[in-house]
Symmetry: C2
Subunit: 417 residues, 2 copies
Amino acid sequence: MNSLTEWLEETLLKLNLTDEMDYTHGFTRLSYTKEEKQAHHVFQAIAETLGLDVHTDQAGNLWATWLVNENTPTIAVGSHLDTVSSGGGYDGVAGVLTGLAAIKRLKDQHYEPQKNITILCFASEESARFGVSTIGSKAISGLLAKDEVASVKDAEGISIQEAVESFGLSWDKMDQAEVNTNRLESFLELHIEQGTQIEEHGAQIGIVRGVACPIRLKVTAFGMANHTGTTPMDKRKDAFASIAPLITFVEEQAHQLNEAASLPLVATVSTGHIVPNVMNVIPGEVELGIDIRSVDDQLKKELAQRIQQYCKEIESKRNIRVTVQTLVDNDSVFLDNSIRNKLSEIAANLNMKSLNMDSGAGHDVMNMAHKWPSGLLFIPCQDGISHHPREYASLEDLVTGTKVIAEYLRQESGGKL
Amino acid sequence: MNSLTEWLEETLLKLNLTDEMDYTHGFTRLSYTKEEKQAHHVFQAIAETLGLDVHTDQAGNLWATWLVNENTPTIAVGSHLDTVSSGGGYDGVAGVLTGLAAIKRLKDQHYEPQKNITILCFASEESARFGVSTIGSKAISGLLAKDEVASVKDAEGISIQEAVESFGLSWDKMDQAEVNTNRLESFLELHIEQGTQIEEHGAQIGIVRGVACPIRLKVTAFGMANHTGTTPMDKRKDAFASIAPLITFVEEQAHQLNEAASLPLVATVSTGHIVPNVMNVIPGEVELGIDIRSVDDQLKKELAQRIQQYCKEIESKRNIRVTVQTLVDNDSVFLDNSIRNKLSEIAANLNMKSLNMDSGAGHDVMNMAHKWPSGLLFIPCQDGISHHPREYASLEDLVTGTKVIAEYLRQESGGKL
């Protein structure tokens, strides 16, 4: 085992706050919790060992900078360290880790950059806790709708504002995390693919063109709660039985739209809340959360419209009220052509096969791309499994990613070996 | 307003710990909570005002007795004071209230009984907190499977054992609440109908023949959690989409069985738990709770079998694992013919129209009936709405119930006016 591989393995464990990657229940470092904070402390310690200057901004993002000169441009790479509940140890971590490893590699090679290089560790990327994603990178990019989200609460009733403040930040000053356009020259994120396309194409890395941002709907069916034993079948307004066919409909329609379309679409009824959810009461209210994604924004809108229409049919057929609320409707983001071309060239020069592809998942880079030329690099993850304890990327793939980032940073920062 | 009506109205409010019956969020006095305990304290105070001897047994049931002589038989009536979450103020309360009111009526008439009369206030009738119902009456009847339920937990992770102990009882001594057969002569419960049959038949009271006890199933679908954005439609094992057709199936089959059967059947998918239940993760596991009831036990079993079969079809069609667990399978309980006849006669003598009927809901009486000749009397509740803030029974109907119980107690206790 060479020293880069060893360093990657050791640092992977450290960033995951563990000495063993294989856990039945995976890793849980939700947004703005003490677990995310702990991982940030570890990141800071590692970055400082590499000789980087580390500071935390007003949104809790960490900036670890190889500082050449305050007046030269800065090249940034990075990702995040928070996870979903019982998630894997690579989603986010892989990007932060390979960024740090690329710095180590360049330093080991006695490289001297001409521009500043920053490894960004974004705060609170996952929507698992609050239903709001990429909070840290939104703050940096000036996209955070602070007033809209302040009172959004987690399952325990803690608001984002409260969580941010107990993370040691000031809610009032969170806007100040926004960074002027001229402070960064570009941004590159590395992430695990969370799919199987790279592997299926026999490639080692994926170079992303478009990021499929979601339409998210909240569908609520209002029936009438009543006793399960005493309410005859023909006198019910069962919210669950009424809305259940929608779950099947969403899946069927997604398949149908995929058959005709050139770009893929995915749609999922991913959440459900049944009220009151007790054995002897007919469900009086059911709320379903639907996540629709495609790089083709029209395709997403088409499905959202069909869902609206189907809910109207349920309303009149079952004589209950059904509401459809659009929680999120973000157009897809396309990444910088010039960075994509550079990454392709670097991969070719390193004798790696790369795949041009789209991303079905959102990442911090989609916010950064609103303001700076940005790129997104994928490394494979086993069987495409992600947001799950069995999420896995090989050390070999982490080495591959590190080499591409190191070479990219070398070329972009205009220094000499 | 005569004094019985006034007393019923005042006491109804007291037992519900309120000064107003009409609340948007209804009443919440879950099993073995301080709210149930508060209602028990009120019951005790009222019973003592009526001159009854009150004691609490080892399961938390209250026995309020008009004591003639320790060696004479005891006639018992009663119900419970706990509620579901956001329930109504009549389910259980009506039975306790009319029992107390009947005593008041007899005492106001200077009646002198020859047998002891006990108003029983059973602890913890509703299954809303632990999924286990009629705990108090099971303990009295020797039907409580203490070891099986000790570790059953509520939504906050508190076990029945812990709840019982924080209610001021000893878990070890709970068995001692069992009562010898010879201590009681008979038991009568009054309850709101939780349906609309009495009203539809133009009657004032219902006299129950059979109590439809439930079969309860827990169906669990085990799919594979994965990222909603990166997992193509044809590579998913979505537990929610896989099992959703079962919700429709249960409703359809219940309708179908009703068409052919002489006794009605009801079936409800009343609970659902989606794991992990977050917007960007495909549901990896879904658990559905199904409640099936009919006085015809064969009909219940037929539907349970069809559900088993349908789950096998889902398993093979969707290539996921589906398990079906039987949580409860209780045969229906039939009430004492002699008590039914007495109640019919009393109603006729009081110029009330009574309806012979079955009960779709379980009640404490179904446990008592295993050991003692027992009866169940229904009063109407508006629109059949129950387990809901809009649950309502009129004072007139409470007066009706009180009169029947008073006359029943008079006849059974063999005293003189």
